[in-house]
Symmetry: none
Subunit: 420 residues, 2 copies
Amino acid sequence: MNVTLLSVGDELLVGQVVNTNAAWLGDYLAGLGMIPTRTVVVGDSVDRMTDELKAAFTSSDVVIVTGGLGPTHDDVTRDAVAGFFGVELQLQERWFQLIARRFERRGMSVPERNRIQAMIPQGMEVLPNADGTAPGFWKSWETATGPKALAVLPGVPEEMKIMMREQVAPRLAPLSKKPVHQITIRTTGIGESHLQELLEPVLGRLPDAVSVAYLPSPFGVRLRITERALEGETGQLAERLAAEITRLASVYVYGRGDDTLEKVVGDLLKARGETVAVAESCTGGAVGSLLTDVPGASAYVLGGVIAYCNSVKEDLLSVDEEVLLRQGAVSESVAVRMAEHVRDRTGASYGLSTTGILGPTGGTREKPVGTIWIACAGGGETVTMRLRLGKERLKNKQRVVAATLDLLRRRLVEGSVGDG
Amino acid sequence: MNVTLLSVGDELLVGQVVNTNAAWLGDYLAGLGMIPTRTVVVGDSVDRMTDELKAAFTSSDVVIVTGGLGPTHDDVTRDAVAGFFGVELQLQERWFQLIARRFERRGMSVPERNRIQAMIPQGMEVLPNADGTAPGFWKSWETATGPKALAVLPGVPEEMKIMMREQVAPRLAPLSKKPVHQITIRTTGIGESHLQELLEPVLGRLPDAVSVAYLPSPFGVRLRITERALEGETGQLAERLAAEITRLASVYVYGRGDDTLEKVVGDLLKARGETVAVAESCTGGAVGSLLTDVPGASAYVLGGVIAYCNSVKEDLLSVDEEVLLRQGAVSESVAVRMAEHVRDRTGASYGLSTTGILGPTGGTREKPVGTIWIACAGGGETVTMRLRLGKERLKNKQRVVAATLDLLRRRLVEGSVGDG
């Protein structure tokens, strides 16, 4: 089963937008056992897109198109696909009503150009888009050499992903025959090289059917185990390997699959009926923001204080002016005080704090850029950690946020072991 | 002059690595007036690569290949290119000596596999690689339809970029004749369709040499103007169009090029010697986090309060319990109180606040999911805005953050008009 991914948009060709859609789709399809054989980016031109559709269906059985479904002149995917199949565009009255209602709810009338978004090539099946105005569409058919299929999805990543998972994947599944079992193990707080050393005993002697990939990010390293099982097998090798890796990497492992650190921490808090508050200096609110990305976070996130400047640390978190002067804002004492005070002030079970120099400038000889203190107060003690990071501001910020959430996660996991 | 970018590597197809090389090359080539017409990713297979080279030279004059020049079995670019031109690989003795010396300096002998890296297809010109063991290669030739060229570069981004700049660009320059001028205008607070209606008077009658693309995101719509100028022209059409668009879209335009909303707001505050504090409910710290993404933000961001639950709104922001009960946390009064209190409490020039229901659940009949109130206190008054958004939590959050920063930006811009 050969698959071509076809991404549409001038913004991709000139590098204004990086093609993360193709990366996500490649990863997702690999999980379904359908590794793409090629991915192509083409600009907003009907002629060029038609050429690429021809080439794609010459070499591939399945073509997945993303992008070019917006309401403007330069959105040509609908026209190109209709032209390729020699059919007309047809208004989907039901979908147009949905678009109109969406605008009405916001007190607006539907702009004439959005009408085009309710039109799809004749003979195609509408793929509803719950989050946007552009529906996708799908067509599959039989040929002498086997089944062929075309899926067309919007380029907005969130919309594309949901539609791929919920609507395209179930339609593709019957076309594929080679199951692949994948397990992703999520770690944080350990670098790629050290993780590799730690796992050498098991990864040094892998069976042929199994491979392991390291996927690093500022939030931690994910390990993806892939087992290309023969027909009828059920991925037991991958499962056994995942169990061994989890045992060896122990405390660094926080989850599997789509688990996020913020969701794992939230679930632990919810299960214990506990709450958290934050006192953030260098992260400027990013810890609170990430914690509350999880739906239902109000069950365990109370809030907190963004203490970016020293006067806020003094006024809202009662950090002593003297301590700030003597030890500096980036110090263990200040981190401890911030975490304990925000916990006491809000009545939360746990207080988390961050203070540091994210860079790219602002360091001193004693406290170079990348010097960070974080603290977690609660459960009868306050634990702290010092991080020594690089000079890249935004990457540093993500690493501080991850380390701070992980400090709480470990506290909760150890706590629950102690309680049990 | 049509250009195809051909990126080689299984890791790109399965999304293990995002194709940032193609994005960088697209941007770089656009600057040289050679926007790529297509970019293709292909796996580590001689046959598939040969097919793509054939297709590339059918539709394009210039093909730039990256990747597949490493020392291992799965690095097939050399073989595929040699096969495509029907020539043999030839050892470049001088380059091999360079590789050998590089290993010797580290006290190692050169591994046999690295010998292959000094071999390039016959008749090609070596492109030296100052930072790695794989040289690139280049070939240009005349055809009945004009000049053709092939550049092959390593996939390591740092090596590829230097070689592109220093060796490929000077060789490409004589082949191109059409400079391209690009201007990006950044807007927020207006949707793609309404923006198009607003700009219809000027975009409805564009000269042939100019095109405009809409690039939407939850943070706003960017407009990219591209002028394919004739020889000797200097992009005046694009500049004139940019001025007209900026006049028509007026208050929705916050910047150009790489400007970000947080940077624009920061620069305005800094220029006026003013400061800002935040009181965030539904955004959980995301406004503060984005403001402090900018290096040097400590000059104008004081901090603030994350008031996710009502008790924090009462305790740290003095919101009346009665108001919370009577009007609910998601109300104009509460937004006003939060913004004014955080400003007064921290001594900032401006206070920003957010309160709302981001979803996906938690709405009521009167206040459905997506109901948001934001406020900006300062400069002698408190302005508020009600947003009606969709049901997607994270997209809603980004839109609230953008709208909140924009509320302050407009206040600052109007203020400076009034002051002047």
